[in-house]
Subunit: 310 residues, 2 copies
């Protein structure tokens, strides 16, 4: 008997996923847009926001597989049933991309490329003598799969790395600390990197109070979500010199509105939510493995804890 998987994603992404999933899933699964099926025929929906249908409208779902690592939009669906498993995407390629994106931004900051870029605008030739990577501390907020990949890459490049986690446990790789130590750790931070999930506790976390605890001239990298950051407070910190530069991949509203001050701020580098794109070719392999587990009655991977929010 064939099973039915419906894809619901923005049109540009949907097209790329339909082909990759059909290739990876083989004969046992029919893969198409959700609209190609009757609502009660669908056993699995593979979804990326914004969602054009409420997930509660599909009565026979056995799994909701997010195509993104972040599931905060799906969790906001008011009719979402907590008895249907919801799984985050896991894509080793996504972790590699995240690690390299964070490394690229931290290296640009470390090597003063942001400052040289501003000097280039004024045809100004002047050297800035810096320090070695071992004299820099990068503080990472969050240490999920992607945060860890970034932390290890930074450590391998010679930077000092510390990561804030909700509940610190002994960690062989990374120096971890809990939220109660954040203030003192911020005071010793050269670059702050946000890789947190979105929860009630982390929303608006990067505000004026937090930024004021960083040493003057620090760097900030946001590759998590825009709602972690209070935009006006970030702009104030850039204008005051508290922050030397911000590398922003995510925003409260995406696409970032044309008139937002981030676009033209000389101390802001913008990338369009591309720090860790899912590659349909490798992401579909995870989905295929997940469906195999579903069929065999084995435990699913990367399940979301509805209460925790990630």
């Amino acid at each position: 008997m064939r099973h039915n998987l419906g894809v619901m994603a923005p049109s540009s992404e949907e097209h790329r996923w339909l082909g990759a999933l059909a290739d990876a899933l083989g004969e046992a699964w029919t893969v198409d847009r959700v609209e190609a099926f009757a609502d009660d025929e669908l056993e699995v929906i593979a979804a990326a926001p914004p969602l054009r249908r409420a997930l509660s409208e599909f009565p026979n779902l056995r799994l909701i597989q997010s195509l993104w690592a972040g599931v905060e939009v799906i969790l906001r669906d008011p009719g979402l049933r907590t008895d249907i498993p919801l799984a985050r995407m896991k894509d080793p390629q996504m972790e590699t991309s995240m690690a390299l994106s964070v490394l690229a931004h931290v290296l640009a900051f470390h090597l003063h490329h942001d400052q040289y870029r501003r000097r280039q605008n004024g045809s100004e030739w002047s050297q800035i003598y810096g320090v070695s990577p071992g004299e820099r501390t990068v503080t990472i907020l969050g240490l999920g799969a992607m945060g860890r990949a970034a932390a290890v890459a930074l450590q391998d490049a010679g930077f000092g790395v510390a990561a804030m986690v909700r509940t610190p446990r002994l960690d062989d790789e990374i120096d971890v600390f809990g939220p109660d130590q954040l203030d003192e750790r911020l005071a010793d931070t050269d670059v702050l990197v946000n890789v947190l999930p979105v929860t009630e506790e982390t929303r608006d976390l990067v505000d004026g109070a937090l930024l004021s605890k960083l040493p003057p001239g620090s760097g900030f990298v946001n590759v998590a979500r825009g709602v972690h950051v209070v935009d006006d407070d970030l702009l104030a910190a850039l204008d005051s010199g508290r922050l030397r530069h911000a590398f922003l991949d995510v925003f409260r509203v995406e696409p970032l509105p044309e008139d937002h001050r981030f676009w033209t701020h000389p101390r802001v580098t913008i990338t369009p939510h591309m720090a860790a794109p899912t590659f349909p070719s490798s992401g579909s392999v995870f989905v295929a493995e997940q469906l195999e587990r579903l069929e065999q009655g084995q435990p699913l991977e990367h399940l979301v804890d509805h209460a925790a929010g990630y």
Copy 2:
């Protein structure tokens, strides 16, 4: 008996070296600017160009120790005696800096940060879907200590790496090839990185003919010397789209003249000869070890072959 070491470097650098060398060399050596000694009192000169005195004016030199890795300016001194050892600087910190600088530029290219920067100037939000690092080939011209450090860092980040060397020998770490294979290798290159020494063979090597062999949309990183590159040909390759972006740290004339077209070209990133600065603190340790070898009559390290030019 105390020995005398004279420092001859541009004023901004000289100051940093005098203190670091005095600290590293200890009681046996008097360290000062060359002008503080009579010409015939000096046994060693530690030099960084431009040189304000001809080295031939010092009759009792036993060693000329360059403070830079590149010695092409010192070799142009017409009175330079080939019987006095001339040594290049070796500074592990410099190799680390070079590796990280090249990695930063290649990552920026790989992750399309150059393109996003141009889009940011137009407040344009649009994604570019790329490939994985393993699908990119970085071709390195030259594989000295700094080229190798860069090659290993790129390889560790997942890029495919090949390096051109004058005489290919079996290499356990890096895929090496000789100049006879350059044309075919260029055709398979995503980013070309120049780390060559300056010799008669390498001067003007990066010209229109070489650049025309790269695939359209390639990247170029120059962290060696400006005289390797024919500026007008590089600009033409950028304007035609043969090159997507050039990351330039070195120039035929430094400081880069204010009216040079590189400054304002949207496809050029300029850094002011800072890809691999020597750190006086670590460089002085090498000089101290070198002087110890000189005193003990042991073979000196990093000696320049006057005929080869490096």
